[in-house]
Symmetry: C2
Subunit: 188 residues, 2 copies
């Protein structure tokens, strides 16, 4: 951020009075421009024993497989975002079952929120951001070709929970760097 | 948003090619400025049978009671944000127990994420954004003086769950207006 989005004057980067983190501040109109993490909402769509995955037609991770998910929009709920992304990426008709994973990614300022969902029919097909949309049995999941660690963890946890016959919310952190800039790797 | 934060030129508000929602777009540098919901992270701090509440020293809801919570920052996890806010607002030393409520507020572009937490000592005191910090038994909770509906719902659910002896994640939506601008009131 270089300019104030309200008045167009250059911003400076400093710690405001009473704060403890540097912010982009407009000295012309006194506005503080906060930047906050974004939510990625999505679904884990299930048809009998199978999971619906999408092959990405966009960067990052073009050509790799993922669960349908994307940035939550203003004016929508997590549930609406998860369903919308599943329609956009896989034209999937889903019924949400329950909140399933909540994963922070502090190094990229994202929080993933995934829902277990029942696929209502087989009329799905790849949307413009997907090259393909396919159902996979557990043994056929392309583990080495998954786009994101959040997807890998959510799927692995799902298959474990399914064996146990109980689905509890999976809350975790996947981190590459802490607030002090130290490299860490917390995966719970 | 009136000006591009990268180049300082005026932005226009229109639907980009391949998108379905209007965005702030800079026609000079082609940047699309997305706006997304913010996460409010916080704690439900417990000391024996009592809950720690803070009396707000800032607007909105100056003088009303709340659980310690605030906007999640970049570079932190939900857990870190919940603990940081509890330290800032009540100087509370907490140990997180588990994710407890995940509540969307689409009409104000927020998602609340609250953790159950154990208060480790009684050395808490009001921080600069609080007028007071106090422990309350269930029967003494100032229900009519709570700052936000999210706090009311989280506390009510907590006391219900405590009677049952089981705490499951509470996922809900509190909405005043849907995406079409129609007034609705969904509270699950």
């Amino acid at each position: 951020m270089k300019y104030c989005s309200e008045c167009g004057n250059p911003v400076i980067h400093k710690i405001p009075d009473g704060d403890n983190l540097p912010r982009h501040i407009c000295e012309q109109c006194d506005l503080i421009h906060y930047q906050n993490p974004k939510i990625v909402a999505g679904c884990l769509p299930i048809w009998n024993e199978q999971v619906l995955l999408c092959k990405r037609a966009i960067e990052p991770c073009y050509g790799l497989w993922t669960l349908p998910a994307g940035f939550m929009e203003n004016q929508e709920s997590l549930e609406e975002a998860a369903l919308r992304e599943s329609r956009e990426e896989a034209n999937a008709n889903l019924e949400l079952e329950s909140l399933y994973s909540v994963i922070s990614l502090p190094h990229i300022n994202q929080v993933y929120v995934m829902y277990r969902a029942k696929l209502l029919d087989l009329d799905f097909y790849a949307g413009p951001e997907s090259l393909d949309a396919q159902l996979f049995n557990e043994e056929d999941i392309p583990w080495d070709l998954l786009a994101f660690k959040t997807i890998d963890k959510t799927l692995k946890r799902y298959f474990e929970d399914r064996k146990k016959g109980e689905f509890t919310v999976y809350n975790s952190v996947i981190s590459k760097r802490n607030r002090l800039g130290e490299k860490v790797d917390i995966i719970r």
